[in-house]
């Protein structure tokens, strides 16, 4: 009984986690860039959604596509103008660059949005299924998260741009020879990464209080999930997110909430060393 | 001549694929031995097994009487088991001299930087690269990179030198030069294993030939005997080549 509830808590949370990680994983997988901006992208998406809801009275779900589009544009521009210039440099360079860009974005957000926690207070209650309680907004969030993840998966597999992204990931030079404009594909990929972060932020604004203090927390989660699930694949992010959600949920219940996050990070370190391809074990973007 | 390296039933499997199976042979001090076989026969894998790059699935490697089956590459290098790579592996941003000095310092005898540099100079002279000592390794031409690779290995003062496709990509004049160099190395008392898939190059220089096919050692012996071996002809040489080779050697 208890165990089932904890498991359900974990799955619902895990789907949201997957949503955090999928954009990050995509960028890492295709561009080989550890995007330190990812946490701030999510928070930015969350704030934009909150303001649209609070001042304009718009439903967050309706706002989501617009927020996602804005972040896509931001991501595309950042990649096109900055990151592309050093995209083939070693990880130290790219990571440091995105960290620097993150400092700027973070500063902008704290000045204009402040660190005050904001939340879309559409409290939708919860569903009780044979004693298992599931909050409606989290279920909705989970649904959206899964939908977005599935959508991304389909785009990556089915569309021209998706195939181009996969081609670039597989072999940059060969892709260039085939006439793919690699830099544009990189910018599109980074844009999609930001788009997913913005969408995640919009979903989160309904569930979690959003504050700039949380950028680091979100980024940390993305790290852990990507390593657990395996880098650079949509299914990997999904598995990693769900696994982390369930692990944290059980660890929080049995070991105490103080140790829940520690267990996640420890697991990540162990997996990094023992099985760097992650649980799903796919190398390469699919 | 005493035995310096011995392989006993060495096998390696990658996943389910047997890359090398049950290979046994030994080398005597000062020998020049050719290891031949078609592409994919497992020659490079065998070199990797001897030098500790891959762990063995089964079998034993004995070097100067010592069981070195589980050694790491750096240990092999320090013991005097040096190798060159099919695809050359310089330290690209270091100078030619520094590249060779690295071999001397870590794989060879000298304990000091100065000693290593002196040694490196000598080896560069030996391979004929002295005038390029101060250029970055990345800017060398392919034949020169192969020479650099040789000098680096020699600086490690090897007892056994495994030359993996040292002639690949060279034209015939360059190959002659390289073979000349190999003879000079052998004259220093270093045991040499030449790994090649071009038969002709090996036959002229080797005292003994090992033939690898599908990971198995199918023949071993003097060049002449090996060329006449039915299995070798069938698996690798082809009848025409065997006949021509017989003619040529008979004429000589």
């Amino acid at each position: 009984m208890d165990i089932l509830q904890i498991f359900v808590n974990g799955i619902v949370l895990g789907a949201l986690y997957a949503c955090i990680a999928v954009g990050f994983s995509l960028v890492w997988g295709v561009l080989n860039v550890i995007n330190m901006l990812h946490g701030s992208f999510i928070i930015l998406g969350g704030y934009l959604t909150f303001f649209a809801w609070f001042y304009l009275g718009l439903n967050p779900i309706l706002v989501l596509p617009a927020v996602a589009l804005l972040l896509y544009i931001l991501g595309f521009a950042l990649q096109y103008l900055f990151i592309n210039k050093v995209v083939t440099a070693p990880v130290l360079t790219t990571l440091t660059l995105t960290f620097g860009l993150d400092m700027i974005l973070y500063n902008l957000m704290t000045v204009y949005f402040t660190a005050t926690p904001r939340r879309v207070t559409l409290d939708l209650g919860s569903i009780d299924l044979a004693g298992i309680v599931m909050p409606v907004d989290r279920l909705l969030g989970m649904g959206l998260a899964l939908l977005l993840t599935a959508l991304l998966y389909l785009v990556m597999r089915g569309s021209t741009i998706g195939r181009a992204i996969v081609a670039v990931r597989m072999d940059r030079q060969a892709a260039a020879l085939m006439g793919i404009r690699v830099n544009r594909i990189y910018a599109v990929t980074f844009g999609i990464g930001a788009l997913m972060a913005g969408a995640a932020g919009a979903v989160f604004a309904m569930v979690f209080p959003v504050t700039t203090n949380l950028t680091g927390v979100f980024l940390g989660k993305a790290f852990v999930i990507c390593v657990i699930g395996g880098l650079g694949s949509v299914p990997g992010a999904l598995v990693g997110g769900l696994a982390l959600g369930v692990i944290e949920s059980f660890a929080g219940f049995y070991l105490g909430p103080q140790h829940a996050i520690t267990v996640g990070f420890l697991l990540m370190l162990i997996l990094l060393v023992v099985r760097p391809t992650g649980l799903v074990g796919v190398k390469g973007y699919e | 001549m005493s035995e310096i390296l011995r392989l006993e039933r060495v096998s390696k499997a990658f996943g389910g694929i047997r890359a090398v199976s049950n290979v046994s042979f030994d080398l005597s001090e000062g020998e020049i031995v050719g290891l031949i076989g078609p592409n994919g026969a497992g020659k490079t894998t065998l070199v990797n097994l001897i030098t500790g790059v891959h762990p063995l699935t089964a079998g034993k490697v004995v070097f100067t009487g010592q069981d070195v089956t589980r050694q790491k590459p750096y240990q092999a290098a320090r013991r005097g088991l040096a190798r060159t790579f099919q695809i050359v592996q310089p330290f690209p941003q270091m100078t030619v001299l520094e590249n060779v000095a690295a071999g001397a310092l870590f794989g060879g005898a000298p304990d000091t930087m100065a000693g290593a540099l002196a040694e490196a100079r000598r080896e560069l002279d030996f391979v004929g690269l002295a005038r390029l000592a101060d250029t970055p390794a990345a800017s060398l031409t392919l034949p020169n990179r192969k020479r650099l690779e040789l000098a680096k290995s020699l600086a490690m003062r090897p007892k056994v030198l495994l030359l993996d496709e040292v002639n690949a990509g060279l034209n015939s004049a360059e190959i002659d030069g390289a073979l000349d160099l190999i003879r000079q190395i052998a004259a220093r008392g270093i045991t040499i294993v030449i790994i090649e898939h071009l038969m002709k190059v090996v036959l002229s220089i080797s005292e003994r030939i090992l033939v690898l096919h599908h990971g198995e050692l199918i023949a071993e012996g003097e060049p002449r005997a090996v060329v006449e071996d039915e299995r070798v002809i069938e698996a690798y040489l082809g009848a025409k080549f065997a006949a021509r080779f017989k003619q040529e050697t008979a004429g000589a």
Binding site: D2, V12, A115, P117, R119, L214, G220, F250, P257 | -
Partner: protein
Amino acid sequence: MLGRSWKFTANAIGVSTIALVAAGALGSAAAADDILRIGAPLALTGGLADEGKKQEAVWQLWLDKVNDAGGIEVGGKTMQVEFVQYDYQTDGKRAGQLAEKLITDDEVDVLMAPFGSGHTKIVAAVAERYQVPLLACVASSVSVYDQGFKYLFGTLAPNTGMTESMTAYFKEQMPELEKVAVYGRDDVFPKAMATALANSASAAGLEVVYDQLYSVGTMDHSAAVSAIKAAEPDWVYMTGYTQDLILGRKQMEDLGVTAPIVTMVTGPAYREFTEGLGDLAEGVTSSTWWHHATAYTDAIGPWTSTAAFYADFVEAFGIDPDYVHGSCAAAADVLVHAVQQAGSTDSQAVRDALAETEVLTFYGPIDFGENGMNQGRDMPIIQVQDEEIKVLYPAAIAGAQMKLVD
């Protein structure tokens, strides 16, 4: 309401210049004796920016009031007051560095500590080393004061007083109260409160059915909330930062925790909490060190009564003051009082005068104990009722009856 808060923020940003020099301090040529310089490292940006800006705003209000009166009287002479502030960006290392800068570069006579027990400790170490008096108006953990520092004084009372009176009050209101679940953030103040409550509750004969901390950076409370639900407590006591509490309260509702008493420290003391929760805030109780419903009169300082302070504050900012505002303004009052007693800004004399202090401010009585902390007294218990903050206790200032959460 939020619109106002935006304006408030904008104001705060507007005034956050590096130094706020008292208007009309034209006589800057006057000897240093004639100016009281107060230094304050503040978290104006970063995680604690909301708190830092409250301190900044209320001191500006206080300073304007003092300056309108032409300064303060010390030993028959009129003295000007200056505040020198720096933003330490919620970075502990910076806080210490800026405290040192204030002392050595700006030569302030006294220091005000920033928000929070942790950063107060860092600044206190610097002040102690330089023997400069430090007033801490937002640090209530005893661990801040138990290091034998001689120059540190705090206007908040110890946490234990708060948790004991709260336990007693709830038992009185709900005699069938038996089981309490305690869930606190592992951070200086929230942890101290959680520990203190667990102790007070056990001492009062309640059963503590859940007692856990969560780490900084926890994003989700479902595991803990499920465990709490299973323990069926009558009272849930959670401590943390506003974002933690909002999430915790929401998850309790989502996962069906039905305890009749929900206390969140110090949630309801902040408007962000009620705004972020909406209806879910209803019925949440908390304790606070001060509430504007208290009615002290004949107080020292520019505001002679709580009502006077409240009126000025609401006029200036359009919102109700909370305990941070009250405590920090009162700290300035106490400081001026000590300088007046000492007759100079000499740090040793001011320190001694502070140690002797026993006065009444609009915020309440202030009497520093042996360790420099304000002596305990009855501290208000508050509850959100109909989107407003009502005082339940002490009886003298109570404005409403306690309601149970349904």
